[in-house]
C-alpha cells in the first residue's frame, strides 16, 4: 500500500497519509479500547487506592450483570428489541428498495431518494423529537386515528416499547434501504421477467430470484440496523422512558451517574460481544462472507 501511495503522491505525502491513518487508528480507536478493556477487569476504587493492593484483575464487573436481574432483563430486552427493530425495518425497507430499484422510473426514483434523504439532514435528536410530538397522547397521530374513527380513545404510544420501535425503524431505515437498493439494482431485469415468464407469481419471484440476489445487501442492512439499534441512546431515552429502558442507558448511568467507569466498561463490552455474535449469526444464516458485505 505504501509503495502505491508513494508512486502516486511522493514519499513525504505518503508518509503523511499513512501517519495520519495510524494516529487515528491507534490513538483514537485501539488505545481507548485497550484502556476500556483494562478498566473493565479492575475494581472501581478511590483515586488513592488505584495501583494499591486492592487493584487486582477480576471478572467481578462482568459478573454484576448476571447477578442483577433487572439489568440482565434489560440486556436481553435490548437484544430482542433490536432484533425486532431489524426485522421490522427489513419488512418496511425491502418493498421500498425494490420499488426504487426496479419499478420506479429514474426520475421518480431520484425524487423518492431525495425525499428519503432530506429528513436525515436534520440531527437524530431533532428527528426523534418530531416523533415525540407525533406520537404524543394528544398528538396529531392520535387525533387522526380518532378523527377517522379507528380508535375510541387515544393510545399511549410513548413511554413504552411501541414508540421506541417506531422511532428506531424510522431512524435507521436508510441504513437498510440503501444496501438492499444497491443489491437489487444490480439484478438484471430479465431475471425477473424470466421467472414471471416461467410461471412464477410475485412471491416466488422474490423468494427464488430477487432475495437470493439481494442477500448480501440484506445482510449488510440487517447488521447495520441491529448495531445502531442495540447501541442507540437517544431514541429510547426520548421515546421510551420511563417505561422502556435500553441497555445503553444503563451503561450511560454507570459512567456518568454512578461514576463507575469500570462497571460501565464491562457492560459495554458485553453488549459488543453480543453484537459481534449477532453479526456472525446473520452472516451464517445468509451464507455471506465479509467480502460480499464489503461490496
Amino acid at each position: 500500500m505504501f509503495s502505491q501511495l508513494k508512486s502516486r503522491f511522493g514519499s513525504s505525502l505518503a508518509v503523511g497519509i499513512i501517519g495520519m491513518i495510524a494516529i487515528w487508528l491507534i490513538g483514537l480507536v485501539i488505545l481507548p479500547q485497550i484502556l476500556m478493556v483494562d478498566y473493565s477487569f479492575r475494581p472501581n476504587l478511590l483515586p488513592a487506592d488505584i495501583g494499591g493492593p486492592n487493584d487486582t484483575y477480576s471478572l467481578m464487573n462482568y459478573e454484576t450483570l448476571f447477578s442483577n436481574k433487572i439489568h440482565l432483563a434489560i440486556f436481553f430486552k435490548t437484544i430482542w428489541s433490536s432484533v425486532l427493530v431489524t426485522s421490522l425495518t427489513l419488512v418496511v425497507s425491502y418493498p421500498i428498495a425494490f420499488y426504487l430499484a426496479k419499478v420506479a422510473t429514474p426520475q421518480k426514483a431520484a425524487l423518492c431518494l431525495l425525499l428519503l434523504i432530506i429528513p436525515f439532514w436534520i440531527n437524530e435528536i431533532l428527528r426523534t423529537f418530531s416523533w415525540y410530538i407525533i406520537l404524543a397522547y394528544k398528538g396529531p397521530l392520535n387525533a387522526l386515528l380518532l378523527g377517522l374513527g379507528i380508535i375510541d380513545r387515544p393510545i399511549r404510544f410513548l413511554s413504552g416499547d411501541g414508540g421506541v420501535l417506531i422511532g428506531m425503524v424510522y431512524a435507521y431505515i436508510l441504513f437498510m434501504i440503501f444496501p438492499i437498493y444497491n443489491a437489487i439494482e444490480s439484478l438484471d431485469a430479465n431475471q425477473i421477467k424470466a421467472a414471471r415468464n416461467l410461471g412464477a407469481g410475485w412471491i416466488r419471484t422474490h423468494w427464488r430470484v430477487v432475495i437470493p440476489h439481494a442477500k448480501p445487501g440484506i445482510a449488510t442492512g440487517c447488521i447495520m440496523t441491529f448495531m445502531l439499534a442495540a447501541g442507540s441512546y437517544a431514541v429510547p431515552a426520548l421515546l421510551g422512558s420511563p417505561g422502556s429502558r435500553w441497555f445503553t442507558q444503563i451503561i450511560y448511568n454507570w459512567f456518568f451517574e454512578g461514576g463507575d467507569w469500570n462497571q460501565g466498561a464491562a457492560y459495554a463490552f458485553l453488549l459488543l460481544i453480543i453484537c459481534i455474535g449477532f453479526i456472525a449469526l446473520v452472516m451464517r444464516v445468509f451464507k455471506v462472507g465479509l467480502g460480499d458485505i464489503a461490496k
Binding site: N190, A194, R196, L198, G199, V209
Partner: protein
C-alpha cells in the same frame, strides 16, 4: 392443439409515442415465424405483448383463439428465450430447467425426469449439477432452450438469442433450433435484426420498420418480390435507382432516370405515370454482356473485391449514384479495374419498380 397467435388490430403506445401501429396478423400453429427489422422498429415490443409483460393499448392478443387481455405473464402459455438468456446464476443447471415445473407444483421426481429428458434433447446429458457459470456460451444457450421448453409452452418466443454467439456456433444453433422446432411442433416466434437468421430458419418472416409491418411472406418471396422500398433495401443487398414513371403497362414500368437514361422493370403494385418511383436491381442480377431484351447502364469501376466464389464491384454512374455488382469469379478479366468503364446489363424481369422516390 391450436397454438396460433393472433395480433388482433393491436396498437401499442407509450405516452405520445406509437411503438406498434395498428397490426392485424395471424401466426399459424406450429409455424417458425420471424420478425425482422432494425433496432427500435418495435419487434421486441411485439414479443413483450405476446408474453404479457405489457398489454396492448388497443386491440388484443389471442393465443390458440383465446384472448390474452388481462392474463398476466405468468399465466400465459408462452415461454421466452431472452437475448442475454437470463439463466438464474444462483441455481444449478437442473434447478434452472426445473424452475417452471417447480412453480407448477410438479413433484421432485417428475421434475428430475423432465430435466433429464430435456438435457438429452439439447445434448447436455449429465450436466444437471453444474453451475451456470461453468457452462460455455453455446451450452448456456441450450440450457436456456431447455428451460423454456420445460414448461411445455404452446408458443416459444425467442429474442435474438443467438446474437451473443460467435459466427460458427450461431450457424450451428440455427440448424439446431430449426430441428427442435420440427421435433416439438411448437410455434416459434423469433425476433432478429439479422436477415440471415430470419431467412434460413423461418417459414414466414414479417419485415418491420418504425412500428409497422412492411411485408409478411416466406423468405424466397420476400427476396424476390419485396412490396416496399424498405423491404427491397433491408432484405439482401439492393441497388435503388430513382426516376420518373413515363410508361406503365402489362406489369412493366419505364422510368426516366435522368443521366442514366430510360430503365425498365417489373412493377410492384399500381404505379401511375408521372409519379416518382425507384427501380431496384440486386447486385447479382447485373451482367457484363448484354443479351436480347436486356437494359444497360454505363458506369465506372471504383473498386474490385475478390471474395472467393464471387467478385464484388463498386461502381459509380454518371448520375453520381453508386452501384454494387456481384459477379461469378469466372467472369473476372484484367479489364475489370479501378477507373475502367463498364456496361452493366440486367433482365427487366429481375428489376422491380416500387412507388416512391428519393433516398433509399
Amino acid at each position: 392443439m391450436d397454438s396460433s397467435v393472433h395480433l388482433d388490430n393491436t396498437i401499442m403506445q407509450f405516452g405520445e409515442f406509437t411503438a406498434i401501429q395498428q397490426t392485424d396478423l395471424t401466426i399459424k400453429s406450429g409455424e417458425f415465424f420471424s420478425f425482422l427489422g432494425p433496432s427500435g422498429c418495435g419487434k421486441t415490443t411485439i414479443l413483450n405483448m405476446i408474453s404479457g409483460f405489457i398489454d396492448p393499448t388497443q386491440g388484443d392478443i389471442k393465443i390458440g383463439g383465446k384472448s390474452m387481455r388481462g392474463v398476466p405473464a405468468n399465466k400465459r402459455p408462452t415461454s421466452m428465450i431472452f437475448q442475454n438468456l437470463a439463466l438464474f446464476p444462483l441455481m444449478t443447471v437442473a434447478e434452472n430447467i426445473e424452475f417452471g415445473l417447480e412453480v407448477r407444483g410438479v413433484s421432485k421426481s417428475e421434475r428430475k425426469k423432465a430435466s433429464d429428458r430435456l438435457l438429452e434433447l439439447v445434448a447436455l446429458e449429465g450436466s444437471g449439477n453444474k453451475k451456470v457459470s461453468e457452462l460455455s456460451g453455446g451450452q448456456k444457450q441450450r440450457i436456456a432452450i431447455a428451460r423454456a421448453l420445460a414448461v411445455e409452452p404452446q408458443v416459444l418466443l425467442l429474442d435474438e438469442p443467438l446474437s451473443a454467439l460467435d459466427l460458427k456456433l450461431r450457424q450451428h444453433m440455427r440448424t439446431e433450433l430449426k430441428a427442435i422446432q420440427r421435433k416439438t411442433g411448437i410455434t416459434f416466434i423469433y425476433i432478429t435484426h439479422d436477415q440471415g437468421e430470419a431467412l434460413t430458419m423461418s417459414d414466414r418472416v414479417a419485415v418491420m420498420s418504425a412500428g409497422r409491418i412492411q411485408q409478411v411472406a416466406d423468405p424466397i418471396t420476400l427476396y424476390r418480390d419485396p412490396h416496399t422500398a424498405f423491404v427491397a433495401s433491408f432484405v439482401g443487398e439492393n441497388n435503388g435507382v430513382p426516376g420518373k414513371v413515363i410508361e406503365a403497362n402489362s406489369g412493366l414500368v419505364v422510368l426516366d432516370c435522368g443521366p442514366l437514361g430510360k430503365l425498365t422493370g417489373r412493377s410492384q403494385g399500381n404505379i401511375a405515370i408521372g409519379t416518382d418511383a425507384t427501380l431496384f436491381i440486386r447486385p447479382e442480377h447485373f451482367r457484363l454482356q448484354a443479351e436480347d431484351g436486356m437494359h444497360t447502364l454505363r458506369a465506372t469501376i471504383d473498386e474490385v473485391n475478390f471474395e472467393g466464389a464471387y467478385l464484388t464491384l463498386n461502381a459509380n454512374t454518371p448520375a453520381n449514384l453508386p452501384l454494387s455488382i456481384q459477379l461469378g469469379t469466372h467472369q473476372f478479366s484484367e479489364s475489370l479495374k479501378k477507373g475502367a468503364p463498364v456496361s452493366l446489363s440486367y433482365n427487366q424481369q429481375d428489376a422491380i419498380v416500387i412507388a416512391g422516390g428519393g433516398h433509399v
